[in-house]
Symmetry: C2
Subunit: 120 residues, 2 copies
């Protein structure tokens, strides 16, 4: 029998930013925790939507037609194929919900590309 998974307990176990850690799976969907700070890279995911739930702080997501500011306790879904660039003015803690195998930088690649499927 599995134990409940406390998000804050899991966050306490890592400090690296922009490097999502898997905490659970529901079918082929993963729940990943990430610490975000500063600007990320513009990218898109051609084959999947991507959901962000903000656990602490505020996550801004720049879009080509504007931006959204996602406060603590709020959810936002970036539709597949939509270019976006996450930005956190100070560190924020987010839970990302998306299918197994999605790479954080999508089509963009580059130095912020994190190893995938890292469990914590």
């Amino acid at each position: 029998m599995a134990e409940p998974i406390s998000l804050l307990d899991k966050f306490a176990r890592f400090t690296d930013q922009w490097s999502p850690k898997v905490i659970a799976e529901m079918n082929d969907v993963q729940f990943k925790l990430a610490r975000l700070e500063g600007p990320f890279v513009w990218h898109q995911h051609d084959h999947t939507d991507e959901a962000f739930f903000v656990v602490k702080g505020v996550l801004r997501i720049l879009l080509r037609d504007g931006e959204v500011a996602i406060p603590e306790g709020s959810l936002y879904v970036v539709p597949k194929g939509v270019e976006h660039c996450p930005v956190a003015d100070s560190e924020c803690l987010v839970m990302i919900i998306e299918p197994r195998g999605v790479v954080n930088t999508g089509d963009a690649g580059g130095s912020l590309t994190a190893p995938n499927d890292i469990w914590i």
Copy 2:
């Protein structure tokens, strides 16, 4: 451009219990909010896992080999085919994450079966 979805703002818009409301979709996966209080019914979902994230209060889930108490800010995934019975000793607020089309009472049916795919 969609707006961020505040879970607490959405919860403020309904009071009925055991009647999940959809607030967002990520591909074919739905995010549903529900107010739970008292005992539910024993049931299982034969074709899917079911994830519970507790927003407020404590959700207990009885399982045939024990029970888990899921506190606020914690996540729990009931694997597909596993019999379970949610119980909330006082009202708790949960976000359920599962594929579109899943009926709340699974294989059990009965009077607590809620209409599906109700958006709020």
